[in-house]
């Protein structure tokens, strides 16, 4: 017993104790696909690393006592980094990495490392979308007056004769003042060769 103790003490003195860090990635996103973890690496400081087996298990071998940051380098998913502390006896403590302080202990289950999200390596291309055009402020500026112009009068009670009269009067004054030109005339005057004569009456409907 004493010999064993001495032997182990001897081992600490030379820090010959090395440990194997074993863990498992959560299979949540893997869908039991044999290739799901291909290219996923478990990286520790100082070049220690491990590879992930097709069942999500990993092992980092021959790690000397010390404090390390364990990172899961995955081409698809982002994982929390883990602070791994190994004491001289080879006891391992895992906690969620808080890079700002060493003291905080937020334990993490190394046997079921959960991904945070799918890593967004790329920018999304802007695509033409009708909803997007509606969200544009220019479109809003155009549509709102239309609503005011066409919908509001309809919402008002047209049965009220007084209101009707008032509105008609209003319309009359508006029509008097604004000589809104005909769209087609405007166009033809812009692009047509000759200046067409203005029609004597406007807004005459053709049968």
């Amino acid at each position: 017993m004493l010999g064993k103790l001495l032997l182990s003490l001897f081992a600490f003195a030379h820090s010959a104790v090395t440990v194997t860090i074993e863990g498992q990635l959560s299979s949540k996103y893997a869908h039991m696909d044999a290739e799901a973890y291909s290219g996923v690496e478990i990286q520790l400081d100082n070049g220690y690393k491990g590879f992930v087996q097709s069942n999500g298990q990993f092992a980092v071998h021959n790690v000397k006592p010390g404090s390390y940051i364990l990172k899961v380098a995955s081409p698809k998913l982002t994982y929390h980094s883990v602070r791994v502390d190994i004491n001289a006896q080879g006891k391992i403590r895992y906690r969620r990495l808080n890079i700002l302080t060493l003291k905080e202990v937020d334990p993490i289950n190394i046997m079921d490392l959960q991904p945070i999200e799918q890593t967004q390596w790329f920018q999304k291309r802007e695509q033409f979308n009708v909803l997007d055009t509606l969200k544009s402020p220019m479109v809003l500026i155009m549509i709102l007056p239309m609503v005011v112009l066409f919908l509001l009068p309809k919402l008002m009670d047209m049965q009220d004769p007084e209101l009707k009269k008032e509105m008609e009067e209003q319309m009359k004054t508006m029509n008097k003042g604004g000589n809104v030109p005909d769209m087609s005339e405007l166009m033809s005057s812009f692009f047509g060769g000759e200046q067409p004569k203005r029609a004597p009456k406007k807004g005459v409907k053709q049968n």
Partner: protein
């Protein structure tokens, strides 16, 4: 989170789009110098080849074209000792006895098997017929543990009563023998039962201690071996009798580097200084010979007079001859298989110049199928060169007459028509372009935006490469053994417009080598000048206007401790001498850790040392650097919110020295120091000290700022410090920088915590300096991150002032995160990035970068401020044209309708 919400303010972060992957970037995989190789055991053509290299990389390479299926850098704590490829699995066994089963094509790790005690691996052997691998490990008791790796079953562990030194398997009668010694140092043999792996009684072969060196198993049941005392003996494995056969052949028994058992039909071969003899003493071949055991039998390869190899297959009838580029072949691996009743051979050869060859040989034809340049794993120098423009543009436009201008325009038009017709003929015009959408032509001429470059690489073993940056093809390769293990420097001599001569100066074991290189064709001439031979610190080239040929060299060398001498190679005329004598020089001696500054005198060939900066011996210099010569500063100051301007300290001669303590264990004694010196006066303009910190420390200097990183040993994290130098609020009126009258700058400094371990730092560059700078960070985890410099602004405050937003300063956050869309190398794992090289392009917004790792090169483009000067590649030309045509059409339609309306009206 606060930081993220701040991001939209800086909407200039230009990440990659998914569909751009592989268009603007590429990765050139390098594996390194192969140590182990394995072909598929099956009696069929191998599709993949397993390789393990000196760079600690395990990889699977396609036998079709040599492309890398996958590669894995193994952990530093282990080395792959044995490599097998059987039953569609690549099996690697590492030094700790860790067996990994890999999928040859996808690289998925099928399983990882390891014993409870990971001690030292002694020997492994494979029994093909049972698909098992037997390994012996040393254990604490001085005896061995025997591990049996079974493909579809769990690991079997047992203890041996001897200390195993060699494991011998006999395929013919399915036997496993463990050879080794007992506690009393007797040479013993122990047989292992194949069914339950129980050990049989130990047979003592010899009372004296014998250590096996190499052995061969002869089919008549004898084991022939040489021991460390250079004696050759044979053991009859059936009865355990040992006979001394030194009289017959005192040669080394031929073994394969992979320590597998050699089958020789009925005899063994001895190799005496390259001459191979059979047991009876008959000389098989007068030259170097390699003997391989394959599943089908023995294949031999012997070197013939022309450095080619003659291969003899298993049935020993047909021979094939192969030549591997004339360079000496260091190692050779082969595989034999039968196809259509004929024996075929696949041969992998690694030559001294770092080329990996793969050849297919049969009785009819033998050809080299592909080659790989593995010397790129050890690069000593990299430079990115602009391509020369079309011949017509080589002249200076200011000298053009009108008719010449017309001629040139016609010539350009002609070359454009030629390109177009070529595309039409080959039918590639309508094809969707795969490559870089901004590069118009794949020819080796300068493109419109100068994005297409030539990468010039000198490797440590003396190979020179010219690589096309568009296609990642190696355009030329030259072997210059004189440049082996040299510190090379490339001098660009400003020749006529766009055409500059390139010279390589190698500082090789304190001897200067001088070459002229044509960068486009790779032709190399050695310039045999009288070259100085001593401690060379720095070499510069001087072009005299009167002389033609190679420019003269200024060679600064160490004469004595703290004394620098000068030697001049070639002629310097008075005009050039006058100019160069007014220039200040600084140089760094890495041996004595000192920087020297001063001026030179051409006539007396002396260096007048005006200042020396000695770094104490207690410190280790990590890096000495200055801002890149091409660094252009656009704005001279920084406008503040109160409408005043903070003037930048525009010293172009800042030298940054980063030094760390030599302390390894005591945390309190560790530190990292950064010194900023003026290159003319040698004055220390700023210094900072970080306690409880150590290397790896990296620094980058640009404009009026510097960024450096180091490892905080106390907090177990990488920290980054950003320093900016300002002059104050006084606007100077000087047209040039005067180092002697300059005042000390105001340094603003802030440190951040990096979420990644940093292995290299660089900075983006642009032609005019208008584009914002981004710091290019190479990480240990194999990423290259482009971090906009606003994140490293030392004026970021913990408690933000109301004016900060106006000035574009983010609130201070101690942690510097690298969001995934800042990662230029996206999901690729490049391996620790050693260096990032930056090249300026013709586009102000864009620069091209080359990341260097031990396992390859990575090329891509960076737009630190977005692509503001070029249309986005998703710009919809189609939509714009359709809308335009639509409008024109609609106008005409309107006209017709208006006319119709008018006519109708007139009819009324």
């Amino acid at each position: 989170m606060r930081l993220i919400s701040f991001l939209p303010l800086f909407g200039l972060i230009s990440a990659l789009y998914q569909d751009q992957v592989g268009k603007v970037d590429w990765k050139l995989d390098v594996l390194g110098f192969p140590k182990l190789a394995a072909f598929d055991d099956a009696n069929a053509q191998a599709d993949a080849i397993a390789l393990y290299t000196e760079q600690n990389i395990l990889a699977s390479v396609s036998a079709e074209d040599g492309s890398v299926f996958w590669k894995r850098t193994m952990p530093v704590s282990e080395k792959v000792e044995y490599l097998y490829y059987a039953n569609k699995l690549i099996i690697s066994i590492s030094s700790g006895g860790i067996a990994r089963y890999w999928n040859p094509e996808s690289g998925a790790l099928f399983k990882e098997v390891y014993g409870t005690l990971q001690s030292q691996l002694i020997d492994c052997a494979r029994l093909y017929s049972k698909s098992i691998i037997i390994c012996a490990m040393s254990n604490e008791s001085g005896m061995s543990d025997v591990l049996v790796y079974r493909e579809r079953k769990t690991l079997f562990e047992t203890k041996s009563s001897i200390l195993v030194e060699k494991i011998i398997t006999n395929e013919e009668n399915n036997l496993i023998y463990l050879l080794g010694k007992t506690a009393e140092n007797a040479f013993v043999m122990e047989a292992l039962n194949i069914d339950d792996f129980s050990t049989e009684p130990v047979q003592i072969l010899s009372e004296e201690s014998i250590i096996l060196r190499e052995f061969a198993l002869v089919s008549d049941g004898r084991l022939v071996f040489t021991d460390t005392k250079a004696k050759t003996r044979s053991i009859n494995l059936k009865d355990g009798t040992m006979t001394d056969i030194s009289a017959v052949a005192t040669c080394q028994v031929i073994t394969h580097s992979q320590k597998e058992i050699k089958f020789a039909p009925d005899q063994f071969f001895g190799n005496c200084g390259g001459i191979v003899r059979s047991e009876s003493g008959e000389v098989l071949d007068g030259r170097r010979m390699e003997i391989f055991s394959t599943r089908l039998g023995t294949v031999t390869a012997s070197l013939d007079a022309q450095n080619g190899w003659t291969l003899t297959g298993v049935n020993a009838k047909k021979t094939a001859s192969l030549s591997f580029g004339g360079s000496l072949v260091q190692s050779l691996w082969t595989k034999s298989y039968n196809w259509k009743n004929k024996e075929h051979l696949q041969v992998l050869a690694f030559s001294e110049d770092g080329t990996l060859f793969f050849a297919k040989a049969s009785s009819e034809a033998s050809t080299v199928a592909w080659t790989r340049e593995e010397s790129l794993a050890a690069i000593s120098h990299v430079q990115i060169f602009d391509l020369p423009p079309e011949d017509a543009l080589l002249e200076d436009p200011s000298e053009w007459s009108f008719s010449r201008r017309v001629q040139i325009q016609l010539a350009l038009f002609h070359s454009y028509i030629n390109q177009l017709t070529d595309k039409l003929k080959s039918g590639s015009l309508s094809e969707k372009k795969n490559g870089d959408p901004l590069v118009s032509t794949s020819e080796l001429i300068r493109d419109q935006f100068n994005l297409h470059k030539l990468i010039f690489i000198v490797t440590k073993n003396g190979n020179l490469f010219g690589i096309d940056s568009l296609s990642k093809d190696i355009i030329w390769k030259r072997r210059v053994p004189e440049l082996k293990e040299c510190k090379t420097q490339v001098l660009k001599d400003a020749g006529p417009r766009f055409k500059s001569d390139i010279y390589i100066v190698g500082n090789c074991n304190n001897q200067v080598k001088y070459f002229n290189v044509d960068i486009m064709s790779g032709s190399i001439d050695e310039l045999n000048n009288e070259m100085p031979k001593s401690d060379i610190l720095r070499v510069d080239s001087i072009r005299s206007s009167t002389s033609s040929g190679a420019p003269a060299l200024l060679v600064f060398k160490k004469v004595d401790v703290g004394k620098v001498g000068l030697e001049i190679v070639g002629e310097i005329d008075t005009a050039a001498a006058d100019k160069i004598e007014r220039t200040s020089f600084w140089l760094y001696d890495s041996n004595s850790q000192a920087l020297f500054g001063g001026k030179i005198n051409i006539e007396s060939k002396t260096f007048k040392n005006t200042w020396t900066f000695q770094i104490p011996a207690s410190m280790k210099v990590s890096q000495v650097t200055a801002a890149p010569a091409s660094d252009v500063l656009h704005s001279q100051g920084r406008p503040l919110a109160d409408r005043s301007v903070m003037e930048k300290y525009l010293n172009p001669n800042i030298i940054a020295v980063l030094a760390e303590s030599k302390e390894e264990s005591d945390l309190e004694q560790m530190f990292v120091n950064a010194f900023f010196l003026d290159g003319i006066t040698g004055e220390v303009i700023h210094s900072c000290n970080h306690k409880r910190a150590q290397g790896p420390a990296k620094i980058v200097v640009a404009e009026n700022w510097a960024v450096f990183s180091y490892w905080s040993a106390k907090m177990y994290r990488t920290e980054v410090t950003s320093v900016e130098f300002y002059k104050g609020n006084d606007q100077g009126n000087a047209t040039h920088w005067d180092a002697l009258s300059a005042e000390m700058p105001v340094a603003i400094q802030k440190s951040f915590i990096s979420s990644e371990e940093i292995t290299s730092l660089a900075v983006t560059q642009s032609q005019m300096g208008i584009t914002n700078k981004a710091v290019l960070i190479g990480t240990k985890s194999g990423k290259i991150v482009s971090l906009p410099r606003v994140f490293l602004d030392p004026r970021r405050r913990l408690v933000p002032a109301s004016t900060d937003r106006e000035e574009g300063i983010m609130p201070y956050q101690p942690e510097l995160r690298f969001p995934p869309n800042f990662v230029l190398s996206y999901y690729q794992n490049l391996g620790p990035v050693n260096d990032v090289k930056v090249a300026i392009t013709g586009l102000e917004s864009t620069c091209t970068i080359l990341g260097l790792t031990d396992t390859g090169l990575f090329w891509t483009r960076v737009h630190p401020s977005g692509t503001f000067d070029v249309l986005k590649d998703d710009f919809d030309h189609m939509m714009i044209s359709v809308i335009l045509i639509g409008f024109v059409g609609a106008t005409y339609a309107c006209k017709i309708f208006a006319q119709m309306k008018m006519t109708n009206r007139l009819w009324q």
